[in-house]
Symmetry: C2
Subunit: 330 residues, 2 copies
């Protein structure tokens, strides 16, 4: 633990430790000659200020909490990349809080607060009143990522999933398809409900009967489910909330000799790597998940530095989506 301290730098530079601190935090307040001398010594000795001491003294830690429900989905990983890139750019470090079991949500929030971060990035697909309540009393800014905020006071960065599903459905209808089913998940997620609303709106607009089916997220369960579903009838199009589920459906279809896309067209969401590794390759909605993380972190830095910004009505930033047409549609 014989790390260089600020005292060592001050001693070597022949200045007070206050000056060294200023060089680090408010360089413009230090005369250039002094500053350069100090900077050189800092570099030579490889001095890095102790983050805890810094955080304690300044009441700012330059770290942000990233609260996520689980990491296993590829999309969350990509989001974190986006967050981390922005964090690096603005000089923040990220601290990960993974919340596996909902029960301990409140405890987790307590931990987050106690870790004295300067801000919080939050994703969770199931928002409860309790969470909103906790956020209200949080002393640092909070921004939602890939999660739509229901409150005017909480900013968010998301994609208009409803519009996205609406656009895709409409496009497929105009291409002459009528029998379009929407495949959701048994476990209802807010974002998936947005997709469903968009699908239903488009169907209604064209006087077509919406057909919503809920499948499990589990692949082996899904296969049996999809077999039965396809036994009953083969729709023109299946719009599926997740790429992996879409591919699972497609594989079952192909195995039974159903031609994709000739007899059945399949569309997924998120345009994950799965979409490129399926055969035929999957058409999928491109969701800018990296961008969401990146923008959310940038937005958060504004809130953290600017007390005024916090008071303003929070921004709800909607990022544009895309649709990547591939072999599973015609």
């Amino acid at each position: 633990m014989n790390q260089t301290k600020i005292y060592d730098i001050a001693g070597a530079a022949g200045v007070s430790l206050a000056t060294v601190s200023r060089v680090l935090n408010h360089p413009e307040k230090v005369k250039e000659a002094t500053r350069n001398k100090v900077l050189k010594i800092i570099k030579d000795k490889g001095y890095k200020p102790n983050a805890n001491a810094r955080g304690l003294a300044s009441r700012r830690s330059t770290t942000v909490a990233v609260v996520i429900p689980e990491l296993s989905r590829a999309s969350v990983a990509e989001m974190i990349q986006g967050i981390d890139d922005a964090a690096k750019k603005f000089g923040y470090t990220i601290r990960l809080f993974i919340n596996r079991n909902q029960e301990t949500e409140e405890d987790l929030w307590g931990e987050v607060i106690a870790s004295s971060v300067d801000g919080i990035l939050f994703t969770n697909d199931e928002m409860t009143k309790e969470i909103y309540h906790q956020i209200e009393y949080t002393p640092v800014p909070v921004v939602f990522v890939n999660t739509l905020s229901q409150k005017d006071t909480i900013g968010s960065v998301c994609v208009d999933y409803e519009d996205c599903a609406y656009t895709i459905t409409k496009e497929m209808i105009e291409r002459g398809n009528k029998d379009i089913v929407f495949v959701g998940t048994e476990h209802k997620y807010t974002l998936n409900e947005m997709k469903q609303r968009g699908y239903i709106r488009a169907m209604n607009e064209y006087k077509l009967e919406p057909q919503v089916i809920y499948s499990s997220g589990d692949i082996s369960v899904n296969e049996e489910f999809f077999k039965k579903m396809l036994d009953e009838k083969v729709p023109d199009v299946a719009l599926v909330v997740r790429d992996s589920i879409a591919i699972s459906l497609m594989n079952v279809a192909v195995k039974r000799g159903i031609k994709v896309p000739d007899q059945l067209q399949v569309i997924g969401f998120q345009n994950t790597r799965y979409a490129l590794l399926s055969n035929p390759k999957l058409t999928s909605a491109e969701i800018p998940i990296y961008e969401m993380g990146n923008r959310a972190m940038s937005y958060l830095t504004e809130l953290m530095k600017d007390d005024e910004a916090k008071k303003r009505k929070a921004d709800k930033i909607l990022l544009p989506y895309g649709i990547v047409w591939r072999e599973s549609t015609r």
Copy 2:
């Protein structure tokens, strides 16, 4: 920032702040009655000690750094889940350091040290002398995850990839296959080199000619590459270092009418979710990536609490692998 402080608790409980601190850190040193009284007030007020102050005063932060090259691969995400679960169990928080560009490796390490973590979990597929050098001078314990340590002084948790590839190759030979190719990546990774060694050893043992091919990691590039490769000849078996590349090869083969597994058998590594979503489903080596993270974190906690342990020759823990036989082999 009107958070409850330790003083508030002490005041409310009618004890000194030293006692409150002891209740938190060395409860056995406090009389039960006192302890319970303090504990109750802590709970009522929802008091959480300030992490920075704690870290500064105790010189322990109860946070560990997780240094990874990138997050995009599903395997890293799963590893972090394993780490986080163990971290929760032992009361640690994790701080993520993502290292995208190797150039700044040293700077990153400086940041890690300065963040005053109690220990470091490190994954990197390309170890340079510089990294080893830096680790030697690191004041806190370091454990490698899914990375084999070349030094006796650094502990690691990994899988014997060489043995794994050897076993698979041998098994395929004994099933009567002779024309077995190994598909690696252009970019050489240490772990992939281990696989290659195992493959070559098995082939040599049976007096068969090893055939090593290097493909790009990029899917679109790969497809062209695999077309050419299959034009030349269709081997009995392709052992491929990554699931995604294996599936890419398989898809190209299936599209040209090559029967998998009848004419060509394909085997991947890592048993990711991709393996279940391919058609036919991919045979793959099961690598306990969650377990690796979990074990590494547990091992690290031992090193962090026990100064003696640090002095000992570091453990190299090898976790067992499995092979999941699916439709892409017969």
